[in-house]
Assembly symmetry: D2
Homo-oligomer: 333 residues x 4
């Protein structure tokens, strides 16, 4: 009965089965027939021509994306609570060879047009200051909030004005789209996103994320960077197969809907305790230490997030039956 | 009937089964119970206390190893035909932040004490020249030759004299040990090796290699570098499980012996055509273009390596019955 | 009648004369007799054994210092208004190969024990977060405030507790010491400073700053980094000569006292307009745009700093006679 | 009576005088009136529109040039005896963030069309191999040989074919042009050179070299890299003044002619001892250890270069009278 991370969830059976299904001879690296399908399959999904690369982690997807958008002497605007700033041990700085992250504010880890403009407003346009070259937003955010297509587009307009590349960290992109119930293109390229880290691992995958370039020409140097970083696994077909299995029959969406439904169930149990509206698969609750302790005594695992605040994360594999006991325990506090 | 790369071979069934066996809830990253067993299991294998980390590729294992041994302003001596020099797109330079590879010679891609001494002899000890900090040798080499414990130890003596760290690229370490029929410690730490990239993927694994630190203190900064490079996969238990499955019952050795036996069978079919003695699972044959074409016409796939020379690589999954047709075709040329 | 930057001031005659005095044959790089004197001369000045290197700019001094104290995967705590953060185009990130600057607060660009503790308090000690390895403080600060020996020592205590290296950006170190009227060792190594960027260019020098290692062993790798960065000029004697000329007869202190006296004169003209106490050679004044315009109409040049705020910087070469007209004009506003 | 390095020569009086002449108030960094003249003055010299930046060292000029031409995942072809490979402590790797130098052969440290083609011929065009992006040649070479305009153009043709940027390390460019007696444009941009490191320090300067971009658009990012590396000195007018003084009245050519004449005098003294033809200001002589010792006993200083080989370097400041004693001593051996 754990609610501490969707990274701890198992791999979904379709993905595991896909590994077996490709377990025969094929070309190494990404020359195999499955890897070769990614561009086409993701182009179909997004409704535009994309380049789609598998990578083994969300951190590497993000870092490669930023390296494609920002030179070593540039900066990337992001929210001060962004994963790329706080939880990737400086991967953006490593892959960009020392670019800076320029931190901005916004409720629920969401940048707003105002906070983005504010972040870049005071940068003097001279060689003494690191110039902004990109923006990175997270959808769903670190606090489970979802940018709407309109909100992304408002960021995208500023990005174009200022000639900033726009990256979306979509570690929980599936949860965001499931919540929005929109076309995945609406909240990405149609709203100005240049590169998307499309997460699958938290959503039932094992070890493959997709890096989606909506400007296909940005992918060229990334192919070298991916190899150079040791991310071009020699048996790449086992990564491609995971992604293809997730796309088949919109498994990615079904899984995300399941996880989101679980979170909603928890949210409905304690509407007055919510720190943020629950939109994706994360629930941030106000709970006193003794209340948290009572939940834990009942066998529920989760992280304390801040004083008087706990985080509950639901996963693709948790049925309503698996969630309900926690929902009831919360309601009963 | 392909003999072009052991990277193209399938994953062995024990490894695939292991993925299913760990497919339940556990802690993310490398906090899970399987990842936590690696130090102990590899320490037992090598007969000394080691730190063992999973990484998703051989390139990343090598690059992290070199970053642990060489500062940005240093150099690593390696053979001019080494994989780290020719086939990793500059991964050593990326991970070390710009160290140089100092190229040395030797038959069959093997460094010798003489060529190693020669490579460092002319470096002036001043700040204008990049100073050597490490040596990297490959066992088995890119041409399928195996360093004996004595040969490694002779390199190790020079490394200690010159205060150079000693790295072994063991993408085919299993094949080397299978050939030597020695204790794995004899050809590594007892011979002066500080860090080993212990390959499993070419030998039946899917996406996990082991990075073995015989000086455990070298691992500390590597833990940060692994994360920073996006190599710390969030569901690490699926990597740990692969390594543990390969260690169980010495599967790694059995697989390597099978691959080596296949190569020997091919070698015996054409002793006069051998470019190098066949010790591991690679066979380099002299073959005229028309001869190579005849083999291909029979359905055998392999790489041309050099003018008049082809490379045949055997894999863990090829039985004698699978090899014999090619052996006979070669003999009949 | 310019008060916009001490970088715009001329070179003092003793420094210019020193260039002529060494203008004969000697060894290249830093092998010459003058460069060889630096360790001894600065050790005498600071009352402890130091390693002293010339470098051609303050930015390079700072960046080399930080590279000596912080690995690529670490961070350096500094004030959010620090020069290394805002005015060096990412030099710290370049030289450290991607370390982060961790920004902290404090009045007048001064870190306090509380803000330093606060900055590092929330860093989880795990590989997902960039760990702090160093602190950098600026003395005198970007707003002309001076850390006392006691204030530095309070920072130094925390640095030792947390195993952080302590760097002092002393672009205006001379002005700070002139204000404090203390032994230069009191505000540096005796207070826990490990490396000092000791500025001379703003204080009458031409193109030489000193990088002082109070832990001499930290200098070893820096010698390579300095060369590798193209900072080891081939005719280094012309840099060493500048530093020696500034040390002779405490010229560095005399120049700084002159600049500080000029600032005091301005401060006394308008005590109610001061944004910060005037301690070194910078004066931040509240002045409406029309007031600033009036001063400029009288021929005085200076920077607007913030809305309703101007910055005046005095230099070593400005006599009381040169300052008084501005003082009077301010008083008359 | 030293002949060991032109770096050891004094600064010529015109340059020293120029420092005094600009020793008054002006804008900091490169905003001053003298720095602003560089583009125009060097454009006039080369007969085409260039961007010209001062930098404080030849190593930094070379490294910035290569960073402008080669991405981190690329390589630069150069001669295996090139200064950038052997004497800059890895500066190219630092500034390019880890690009490789791809070493090629050629007599007298000169690349030839054949050796250049050979160096890149075997690079597979795939992501596993570092792809060549630039060529760097040195004129005059490390052995004092001079590429003619035709020879450079032959390299330039290959560079264009292969889409490689072409850099010329002109630490002794003045000596090359003095030898060729050609227009400086003939051996640079008209022959395909994209970026030139134009050396002045060995030729009578103190601390300023010029970085010349024949494709002005390449300079844009370099301005940030120069600042980021701490190479944008705050009192830049003292660097610009040196360059302008060297251009005035073609002082750079007169100085180089004087140095070359000295070398010719030495060469004529011992035509049978010459290891290479003497074209610039370096003379490589065959001399047994006892012969070298005899010269040294007479008070002549120089480097042993290889067994049985010594290097003599002449400088701008050595008159025929200063050279003749050595010429006679050599003749008398």
């Amino acid at each position: 009965m754990r609610f501490f991370s969707d990274n701890a969830a198992p791999v979904c059976p379709e993905v595991l089965a896909a590994l077996g299904a490709v377990n025969h001879l094929d070309t190494a690296y990404d020359g195999d027939q499955w890897s070769q399908q990614l561009d086409g399959r993701f182009s179909d999904l997004f409704g535009t021509q994309v380049r789609a690369l598998w990578v083994p982690s969300g951190t590497s997807a993000n870092a490669l994306a930023l390296a494609a958008l920002c030179p070593p002497h540039g900066s990337v605007v992001c929210h001060r609570d962004a994963h790329i700033q706080n939880d990737e041990c400086g991967a953006p700085e490593f892959y960009t060879h020392g670019a800076k992250l320029l931190l901005a504010d916004g409720d629920g880890a969401k940048l707003t047009p105002e906070t983005l403009r504010g972040a870049v407003a005071n940068i003097r346009n001279d060689v003494h200051q690191v110039q902004p070259h990109a923006v990175s937003i997270t959808n769903a955010t670190e606090y489970g909030l979802v940018y709407t297509p309109q909100e992304v587009a408002a960021i995208g307009v500023i990005a174009r004005e200022r000639e900033l590349g726009l990256h979306m960290d979509g570690a929980r992109f599936a949860n965001a789209v499931a919540h929005l119930d929109c076309h995945p293109g609406d909240v990405t390229w149609r709203a100005g996103v240049d590169v998307l880290s499309f997460g699958f691992v938290k959503n039932g995958g094992m070890s493959a994320e997709a890096l989606i370039f909506f400007k296909p020409e940005l992918a060229a140097a990334t192919l070298y960077r991916r190899k150079r970083a040791g991310l071009l696994l020699s048996k790449g077909r086992y990564l491609a197969a995971q992604l293809l299995a997730m796309l088949d029959g919109d498994l990615w969406l079904r899984n995300a809907r399941a996880a989101n439904a679980g979170a909603r169930l928890l949210a409905e149990a304690a509407p007055n305790r919510l720190v943020y509206p629950v939109q994706a698969n994360e629930v941030f609750l106000k709970a006193r230490p003794d209340e948290a302790a009572r939940l834990r005594a009942l066998g529920f695992d989760f992280y304390d997030w801040a004083p008087g605040e706990v985080r509950l994360v639901t996963s693709w594999d948790q049925s309503e039956a698996a969630i309900r006991p926690l929902a009831e325990a919360i309601a009963a506090l």
